[in-house]
Amino acid sequence: MTIHLSHFSAAMTFALFASIVFGITHRNTPREMLRYGAKCFLFFFLGTLAGGWLMWLLRH
């Protein structure tokens, strides 16, 4: 059985897990971990959108 994810859903799944690990390993308190993880996820999300639009602009 092969798992099929779209490029966007794969990128967001990647962002979710990477952000959680970054949050836990890069900060000391639970509150800071949550904030840092959320910030990383937001940057991943915005980076994905920005990259997508950049590729769209290059193509057109």
Binding site: T2, H7, F14, I24, T25
Partner: protein, 145 residues
């Protein structure tokens, strides 16, 4: 003149306030090794149950999602530089990597776009596990609560 300006730009830190790297302890090195071999295990052996469980779920899920997407698991090689780096990234997953090699998983399906995502998921799971194992080491030496 220039020397004086440079000196004033870099404030001297008193020796007592400089951050000193704590020496490695057997407990910390053990946590590092356990954390590498069993993703999340380095935190669990130090009774950081919550963090350990979350790390375990994240890294294991990422690794098996990668395999589910038919991502490639690299064997040791001396060929292309990216293949060599891929091997070291995969090796970061510790026991999961050896399990995948033993079970002959991860051949990679080059006709599937998802297989390429899967390859990246497996490599990144390994790299995140290295970060996680180092974090377990820092907890072991008392650098982190």
């Amino acid at each position: 003149m220039a020397k004086a300006a440079t000196k004033s730009a870099e404030p001297e830190v008193p020796p007592a306030k400089q951050e000193v790297e704590p020496p490695p302890t057997p407990k910390a090195v053990g946590a590092l090794l356990v954390g590498w071999f069993i993703p999340g295990g380095g935190h669990l052996v130090q009774r950081r149950w919550g963090r350990g469980a979350i790390l375990l779920v994240c890294i294991w899920t990422m690794f098996f999602l990668g395999l589910g997407m038919e991502g490639k698991v690299y064997a040791f090689n001396t060929g292309d530089l990216l293949d060599i780096l891929g091997f070291f990234g995969d090796l970061g997953a510790g026991g999961l990597y050896f399990l995948a090699r033993m079970m002959d998983w991860g051949h990679g399906a080059i006709n599937l776009a998802t297989a390429d995502y899967g390859r990246v998921f497996i490599i990144v799971a390994g790299l995140l596990n290295i970060i996680s194992a180092v974090d377990a080491y820092h907890i072991g030496v008392g650098k982190k609560p």
